[in-house]
Subunit: 155 residues, 2 copies
């Protein structure tokens, strides 16, 4: 399990998607604009997310991307692993014959730790983040937007 900006982009994009795809599919152009990620980079990320079955592409005008599962059933670990290259962190190909009788301390250690982090992130769903974000930040913004619209109407 690695944790890089690439994974962050993916999680952010998925959160944006979850947040905006209540009814209609969301275009990558929209996500790109909102999250300031290049469109083609998003395309690459979503190609992987699609291959691992978390999103569905809808072609043609009015199309875009939809989540293929409920937000509660998409976890952060899956998103990150979908876009990450799997890394062989061993030097001996997992056979444990690296060195003079001290086989793969690296491997044993990091795999264990890595598993713990993975499990931890598996326990956090897109829905969890959505709730958290919604309450803490975005809802305030949306309230302001609504206010703004009401001001225009009443003016």
């Amino acid at each position: 399990m690695r944790l890089t900006t690439k994974g962050r982009y993916a999680v952010t994009a998925m959160l944006d998607l979850a947040f905006h795809s209540e009814k209609n599919p969301v275009t990558l152009t929209d996500i790109a604009t909102r999250q300031t990620i290049s469109l083609s980079y998003l395309e690459q990320l979503f190609a992987r997310l699609r291959k691992s079955g978390m999103v569905k592409g809808v072609r043609g005008p009015g199309g875009g991307y939809k989540l293929s599962r409920e937000v509660e059933n998409i976890n952060i670990a899956d998103i990150i692993e979908a876009v990450d290259e799997p890394v062989d962190s061993t030097k001996c190909g997992g056979k444990g014959d690296c060195q003079d009788g001290q086989p793969c301390l690296t491997h044993d250690l990091w795999m264990g730790l890595s598993d713990q982090i993975r499990n931890y992130l598996k326990g956090i769903s897109l829905g969890d983040l959505l709730d958290r974000e919604e309450i803490n930040n975005v809802s305030q913004r949306q309230d302001k937007k609504v206010e703004h619209v009401m001001n225009i109407k009443s003016a």
Copy 2:
């Protein structure tokens, strides 16, 4: 908080150090040999670890590196952050003025998640890993070594 091979190298090296520095300082050459990491790369990593005060270099013949705290008081998050470049994950420098009124969803989201992972890793000490490793893997090896010695003696 990022999680890369660089951090893994650092954690592994620190664990190796913890494991071998009961009495005498451990040379980077030894760690490099045992863990198959290049010496000069280790030097770079340990320069950072020293600057953040987790290890102490002992010069001269018989010198090497020692932990400057008890293994219980060195946590994984600190090790990783010592060797990692700090990354500004925002595009607006943390001011929240990225985009058309949608300020830094990326930042809010990832910082929160990142903090959780950091806290999680802060809760795991070098001592914890040491115990775990010792019980799960190394002890078996040691047992075999003892067996081996006994076989030789009885032969």
